[in-house]
Symmetry: C3
């Protein structure tokens, strides 16, 4: 076991992944942009730091990582900055399912996946003519939701879209409720789903808008909402919702097994909104560790209950790899 190392890209949830790996006895490697090495040096969680200039240089380190006998633990930054095809053709050991990736990255494919899972989703309107309730107008590729606006009718939409000529958009039913991110771990080694916890994001500027009085917002004129993630806040969910939260996770896993060989496994996240009517809408799934698990170093309430020890998602990943090595089944956790 001493020979397998754990590697990741220096960003997103890398500190957690590397710390968890060290807690489970692994040597660790972080591939990191030069100007971002400080946290990885400060916290001492990486036995080796490989510096690159840009995320797109990551695959240039592939040979070195293979030589180090490293298992790559992917996260959102890897997904965002490198190509699915590059991931798929790589010979580097990869924790998690590669086959599910294409179902995650395409908005249409993902909607198909969630629909197959039988989850409650916001309605999508094909044409402005169809708008019969409040909708949020989302633009493709708008970083942090810049420019997203609400509309109540075709007329309202027509007026407001003027400022966004030529942009591709989707018209999504606007669900009013509180956002909750559900964190799961699907274990191939223990053949079970684990509920790891919940968080809410801390987004700029929407999570400070409420601190500006309505009067002042109107005076400011220019307060446009944006949804740029700046951090995460821990929370627990009403216990009577946990059963449905588990159902959501199980259904996502089950339907993934119909879409991709062996289905999705490892950590994943469902982005939900809970309405005052206690309906849970699922907007998106992330087929990997998300940064919303970072508040839970060294543990979340839920993972502590399950494991009777401190268990972050990073440590959970390393534990799974360790179990696989001990059982001589490393392939079971690699994609």
């Amino acid at each position: 076991m001493a020979e397998i190392k754990i590697a990741t890209l220096g960003s997103h949830s890398a500190l957690q992944i590397l710390k968890g790996a060290k807690e489970e006895g692994f040597e660790t490697i972080v591939v990191c942009r030069k100007h971002q090495v400080k946290p990885y040096k400060m916290f001492g969680v990486a036995d080796k730091i490989i510096e690159i200039n840009n995320f797109s240089d990551f695959w240039k380190t592939e040979k070195q990582l293979i030589d180090e006998n490293a298992v790559l633990v992917p996260h959102g930054t890897l997904a965002a900055y490198t190509d699915v095809d590059e991931i798929k053709k790589s010979k580097l050991m990869y924790f998690g399912s590669k086959d599910i990736l294409k179902w995650e990255v395409s908005r249409t494919k993902q909607q198909h996946w969630l629909k197959k899972a039988g989850l409650r989703q916001p309605k999508i309107f094909k044409r402005p003519e169809d708008i019969d309730r409040s909708v949020i107008v989302k633009f493709y590729g708008a970083e942090g939701g810049k420019g997203y606006f609400l509309a109540n009718s075709k007329e309202d939409f027509d007026k407001k879209i003027q400022a966004h000529k030529g942009k591709r958009y989707i018209l999504q039913e606007y669900i009013i409720g509180v956002p909750v991110y559900n964190h799961y771990f699907q274990s191939p080694m223990l053949d079970r789903l684990e509920l790891m916890g919940f968080d809410k994001r801390y987004e700029s500027n929407v999570d400070s808008l409420g601190r500006i009085s309505a009067r002042d917002q109107i005076a400011l004129k220019s307060v446009d909402p944006s949804y740029v993630i700046t951090g995460n806040i821990p929370l627990v969910v009403r216990e009577s919702f946990l059963s449905e939260a588990i159902d959501i996770g199980e259904n996502i896993v089950k339907s993934s097994q119909k879409l991709a060989k062996r289905g999705m496994f490892g950590p994943f996240c469902a982005e939900t909104i809970i309405t005052p009517e206690k309906e849970i809408f699922t907007f998106e799934v992330s087929a990997r560790i998300v940064a919303g698990t970072n508040p839970y170093i060294p543990t979340s309430p839920y993972s502590y209950m399950l494991w009777d020890e401190q268990m972050s998602t990073g440590k959970r990943i390393a534990r799974e790899i360790k179990l696989a090595i001990e059982n001589n089944e490393l392939n079971k956790v690699l994609g």
Copy 2:
């Protein structure tokens, strides 16, 4: 000691109660609705799961629980779905005071209790004619505060009440400030009050309203505030408020001792609002464990300081029962 088991109803804070019981070495039983068993199976905190169809079937399991030699730990769901009289006449061992229950469930009786405790409370207006400041109009039995509205004067009230003809309401002074829930534990075994921590609720939809800009809220027209609890967020309170927070807890306990035999004991919660003038208003008391302690598995900052070990409220309850058994004074913690 091995013979006493700890039982609870599967909801609310049951995971915490059961986990805490296991940490203290008890066998555990959860009585759970069929469609809600998943969390109790997943987290492995219940040695036995008794399935029922509805909460109202709970008392059908009474005989079995008595045969198991179980102490029932009550929580909000039990209080909400079963009758005080059924609790009082039950022969099942019950953790906490039964005598205080009637003072908790009646709004009028509770107000009397809080007044006796000398706590700062929002003013109640008897008639719309008396409105001389902003009031919140609350309807009896309105789940999640549906339809609650604000009014500034009799005229304003008269206009807005039109949409709610025939409903029973109360007119409560509207206090603007931040909500804080104070968690306590009154220990009969150690004869002392313990401050266990604080939380804020995460309510749908009010805790997402602020994420909608004033402009969009007005465009949406239909955004009515509701207060349905979906979760809880941990927080600590300014240290200079702790002395008053302890006073509040002590005064609630003291006045309970005048109302009910032996007074209230075990975990309880005071729902407060802290104003910019640093005044603490107490709105309600819950004479039992509340779900706001769930973020504090395995510990809260405060209980850690007091006990010099991880201590959730669930574990604290089990510790109290253990102390009682060891001292041959189990009756002291039963109602």
Copy 3:
């Protein structure tokens, strides 16, 4: 080592400081106002409680603390209620730098310090005529930000200032983004900076304004924002911001070394706002432990990663004093 004791003033973050001291094996003393002793008695973190009537009586206990061989750990309440000159002339052992204090307490001096550190700061407008964007008008000495208002132009300012005739104010560029408090520890013994964590404040009433719908805020008429700290909420920050967060801490320390002998050391905090454009503005620095570290008893995610053990800021201070004593270099941590 047994002879050195740790003392602090009973308020702010005293519980954390005292608890941390006890965890590191020190005897502890709290100097506390009579009506605020309850928390210090309840949590058992003070071996001795010295009661005073008002914070201003603190220095009357100086001789006793010197006789007890106590190191004073200062915090915000000490800074707010006692005079810098009194601190400087005191013979009591004082943890942290005294020389940096004058740079912290004066608004102008502090702005100079932050500017020297090369940090992004909101623009200050000298005259209403210069207003070319949204500004926040802040009054000197306005407790909790009472009366602060926003203005978009000279005209707007002229109109709104009428209600505040004769008050001294500053005109600060209004930055819309989420507030984040960065906690650091500069260690003279290990000669390094440590990132201890992050929090957001819980302020009355601004952190409940968002729970009032725009419609109701407008109906209430009188909702003026205020920023009175009532508590703190834990959070983690997006990992890609950590490198800049570390830079901010390092630059504050470096520039402090040019302003004051040996510069600032021990715990400190940078008050920041992160905008949707991912720019981090630094508004203020506190050259000592802040109450935003209180959620992190017994540990924060970051200090846990760094130390591989639970580490609050209070414990970290005591650890530093212990290291200094063991190395016979106590002077290195005293100001």
